[in-house]
Each structure stands twice: as C-alpha cells, then as structure tokens.
C-alpha cells in the first residue's frame, strides 16, 4: 500500500521542531466481523502554541487517532500496527508503559466530549482534580484540595471553594466541561487534545467554553488538537486544518486557505454542507453516499465511489493518492487536486503556477 512519508509541510512561522509529530500511524480493530482499519497512515504535526483542527465525517478515525496518541486505545480490539508518535522528539509508542503513563495527563492531556460520563460519578470534582497533583506531584490531600480550588477559579467556576465538594452531576453542562478543562490544564501540559469539547453543550454555552479553552491555550502556549464538526469554531480558533476520510488525512492547510479554495473534493463537499449566511435560502448540499465500511475500504482513492470529480477515471479506482504538497504550505491526497482548486475560484491561477 502506498503511504506517504511525512511530507506535510510545517508552517513557515514556526521554524522549531514540532511538539507532536504523528507519522504514518495505523490503527486497526480486530473484531468478530473482521479487521476494521480505522486509521490508515495518518500524518500530522502540531507546534507549541498552535491549534490543529481535525475535521471529518463520523467514523473517519479522528477519535481513534487521538486515543492512539494518548495511549488509551481499547486493546483489544484496537492495535497500533505501524507508525510513530513523536512527542518532543521521542516516540511515545516505543516508550515503556510507566514512562508513557507519566506523559499522560502531565504533558499531554485530553478533554472528552461528554463531561457527564467522562467524570467519575461517585467522586467529588475536588477529588478528581486533586488526584492529578497527588499522583503526579505527590501532593498531600490538603495541597491537592487547594490546587483544585485554584484550578476551578482559573476556569471561572463561581464559588469554587464550596463547589469543590460537589459531585459532577450537581454541575450544569457548561460548568462540567469547565471542570474537564481544569483537569486537563492541571499540570500545565504541553499539548491538549480536545475531542469535540463543545458538542454535548447547549449552543448558548458552546462559545464561552471554546473561548475559555482558546484563552488558556494562548496563555500557556500549548499545542491544541481540536477535533470538531463545527466549522465556525474552526475558522475562529484554528491555525491549520487536517481533514480525515476513512482513516486518512486527505487535506491539510492553513485555516483560511481551505475555506477560500479546498484542494480535495471531499473537503469541498464538507464546506458546502455547512449552512452559511451568505448563501441563505439555498438548499444545503450533502455529500452523496455513505463513508466506506472500514472492513472493506475501496481500492484506489477511498473517496472515489462518492466523488463527483472522479467521473469514472481509472486512476481514481486503481491508485491510492498520497498526501502530497500542493501549493502554499498545503497538501492534498487527490490525483486531480489542480482541477479541484481550479473548479472553485480564482485560486486556479495560483494552482496553475
């Protein structure tokens, strides 16, 4: 199988080595029905202080990639079968279990979608926050509680001193997600992975929670991987975007370029399928067909059964397009990316150059 080496270019403004460098990551789930190839050669990098937004339909492998980076994959059935996860230059996948545990939570933290189920229902939030300091820093019970209150203040939970004794179910959805953020922030990690951090929240508090996350990220110059379906949020906070399809990255680009002119037909479909103010009244576009079964990913370009641009071309059905640099610090995994760029608008000029 043709998989691309790490050719995703890093933005020019950050010349330093990346904080996180995921290379050719493969994950499969060995289930009773067969082997589901959930991640098939993902490459992406995140620098300190940078936000990478990961987009893609449900089941495209966004969460599984994150779990593999964190080392919290369900094993079995999930296995990392190939690749490297370089964090500050060291491969997490070859570390000892104990070394890796020390990285988890302390250097790389994760924020989950549904804080109600992600927090332990029978422990107070104070205990759950303080646990970070007790385990990783050897803090006393009292110190841990003080730290927990401090954290709750930092994420602006009112009356933190009293609420530290409350249980997760006693908080509102927004406040609960703040607790999750506080827990991720506890040891001031270098990288945070937020897996749809606002999806489970009321629309009214989504923005507040997202703002808080973005603010903390700036304050501590952390790297942030933001998995989301909300393209509005992406435009506001992300520096670059990686679009996933069937366990692969099909396009990466600095955030604004991709909105102007996507270089992959799938990205274009995704962008067209979001409601936009300037196209009000028009019918919403939907990519036709369904994502492929991960048990039987189509040969050639995995997107070809749904791709309007393939038009029965033999190349699309036979050859897997590698993720290759196109223009302006971008990469696309489409044989006919020029056509895609040209299709859309004036960017065609640059593409042709």
């Amino acid at each position: 199988m043709a998989t691309s080496p790490d050719l995703v270019p890093t933005p020019a403004q950050t010349p330093a080595d990346p904080l996180l460098d995921v290379r050719d990551l493969h994950v499969e789930f060995r289930t009773r029905d067969g082997v589901a190839k959930a991640v098939n050669g993902v490459n992406y990098t995140v620098h300190a202080g940078e936000t990478l937004a990961v987009l893609g339909e449900s089941g495209s492998g966004k969460s599984v990639t994150a779990q593999a980076i964190m080392g919290i994959l369900d094993t079995p059935p999930g296995f990392v079968t190939r690749g490297q996860v370089l964090f500050q230059g060291r491969d997490l996948l070859t570390m000892s279990a104990e070394e890796r545990r020390k990285v988890r939570g302390a250097r790389i933290a994760m924020i989950f979608q549904d804080a109600l189920s992600a927090l332990n229902p029978v422990l107070t939030v104070g205990e759950q926050l303080g646990e970070m300091f007790r385990v990783h820093r050897g803090a006393s019970r009292k110190e841990a509680r003080a730290k927990a209150i401090e954290l709750m203040d930092r994420v602006r939970i009112p009356a933190a001193r009293d609420r530290v004794r409350d249980y997760p179910h006693q908080f509102s959805g927004g406040m609960r997600q703040r607790v999750m953020i506080a827990m991720a922030m506890a040891l001031e990690p270098d990288l945070i992975i937020a897996d749809e951090p606002t999806t489970a929240l009321d629309v009214t508090v989504q923005a507040q929670v997202m703002d808080l996350l973005a603010e903390l990220q700036r304050e501590f110059t952390m790297g942030l991987i933001l998995i989301t379906h909300d393209l509005g949020v992406v435009a506001d906070v992300a520096d670059k975007i990686a679009v996933m399809y069937a366990g692969r990255i099909v396009e990466t680009a600095p955030v604004h370029d991709i909105y102007r002119a996507p270089a992959h037909p799938y990205t274009r479909g995704l962008l067209r399928s979001i409601p936009r103010l300037d196209r009000k009244g028009r019918e919403l576009y939907a990519i036709k067909g369904l994502p492929p079964s991960l048990l039987h990913i189509p040969p050639g370009c995995p997107f070809h059964p749904r791709c309007a641009q393939a038009r029965g071309r033999e190349l699309c059905r036979s050859d897997l397009p590698a993720l290759l640099p196109v223009v302006g610090g971008r990469a696309s995994a489409c044989h006919f990316w020029k056509e895609t760029l040209g299709d859309d608008n004036a960017a065609a000029d640059r593409a042709g150059a």
Partner: protein
Amino acid sequence: MGRYVIRRLLQMIPVFIGSTFLIFFMVYALGDPVAALFGDRAPDPATAAQIRRDLHLNDSLGEQYLIYMRNIFTGDFGTAFNGQAVTSLMGSAFPVTIRLTLVAVVFEVVIGIALGVVTGLRRGRPVDTGVLLLTLVVISVPTFVTGYVLQYIFGVRLRWTAPSVSPSAPVGELLLPGLVLALVSLAYVTRLTRTSIAENTRADYVRTAVAKGLPQRRVIVRHLLRNSLIPVVTFIGTDIGALMGGAIVTERIFNIHGVGFQLYQGILRNNAPTVVGFVTILVLVFLIANLLVDLLYAVLDPRIRYA
C-alpha cells in the same frame, strides 16, 4: 433524608400486619394443634378442651389474631410445644443463626467479589470460563445436595470439621455450614461483580482515569471498583434477610439449633406461636435490612437522593 426514613418505617406497619396475619392464617389452616401436641396418642377429651380454651382456639380466626397481636406488644410471644416461652427459644436460636449468616456473608464478600473482579478483568480467558462454569454448577445444584456432599467429604471422610454442630455453635464449627449457606449467593455475587466490572471497564470515566496518567492499580481500585461494587453491595445487603430465612436447610443438614431448626419443630408440631413469632421477626429483619440497603445505596452513589 430523615423524612424518607420515617416514611419507610411507617410503610413497614401495613406490611408487618399483612404478613403476620398471612402466616397466622396459614398455620391455623395447618390443622389441629392440640392433636399435634399429643402426637399419635389420642388426648383425654377434658384436657384437650382445657388446652383449647387456654389457647383461645375456640374463638374466630380474627379474634385469635387480635389476641395474639396484643400479646406480642406486651412482649409475650406465647409458649412453644415443649412449654418453653417462644421468646426464650428466640434468645437461643437467633444468635446462632446470625452467627451462621455472618459467616456466610463474609464468604460471599471475600470469595464472591474476589472471583468477580478477577473474572471481570480477564473476560474470555480460561480463569473466566472456568469460574463461570463453576458458578453455573453451584447455582443449579440444590443446597441440600451440596450440603450433604460437603458434609460427607469434609466432616465424615476427611474429618476436617465436625459433621454436626454442637448446641453452642462456635464459629469454627460454622465455617463449613456457612460456606454451604453462602454458596448459591456467592455464585450470584461472582456473576454480578463480573458483569458490573465488565460494563464499567468500558465506561468513559475509566478511560478518563487512564488518560489522567493514573497508575493501573489506582484506576482499578479507586475508579473501576468503587463504581462496580455499588450493585454488589446492595445485593449482599438484601441477601442477608434471605440468608437468615434460607438457613433452614443448612441448619437441618448440620443439626444447628438456630432459627431454621426451631421453625421446623414449630411446623412439625403445628405450634402457631413459634412459627408466627419467628417468621414475624424474620419479616422485620428483612424490612429493616432493605431500608438499610437503600440508605447505604445513597451513601455509595451520590446521585441517589431520597426526599
């Protein structure tokens, strides 16, 4: 919380009255207690009539019940067939059965939970399949069979323990009977723990605990076990009442002079005061155990709030 407890205590009154009446009625329907008192010999008609009068047996069922209840509230549970006060039988029988039940509960907790945790964490492995099979066997074989078999093996053949428990029923002699009494519940505790652990290992909060970089031990004990054992603890709580009632078979096998033994004697002799008295206390124990379990549940799971 206080109001909830009071309401629950009040609810016990009708349950208490209903169940005692039902038992009273059933014993009454068993037949003539006077005839049973004399066994095969035909009693002297004058004596029989005298006893009938003393026991109010000529009154209607309702009246008898009322008289009985009035006596209970003055602490008079009547006289057993052998002339002893039922209360004095209770005084000797309940401590023995309580001791037996406690031994059984300890087995349930220690062995049942340990097996459940091990199998729950190693689903599909040989240990798991083996233990699961064993619990199936234990559940499907009647207690009196396992009881007699174990008594024969350990008491008669190997002589590790006395096959018949002495009247004082010291804890050492109650180990084997306690195990027999516990076996079926123990198998259920194992299965319940296993299922609960298996369900919770996939829970999001366990994944969060791992993502926090907690050592595996802490993830299992503080996060996984703490949650998984909630249903198990409540099961064991409600089981205490059932164990005390179910001790009849075990007590017969090992000749233990506990509640079951006295109840058996009472039924054999159609002695209403013994049967109704003992069962009434068992009903009370059951009701109170249930209330305590519900309260314990609220302590273990902060999401439960009673009002």
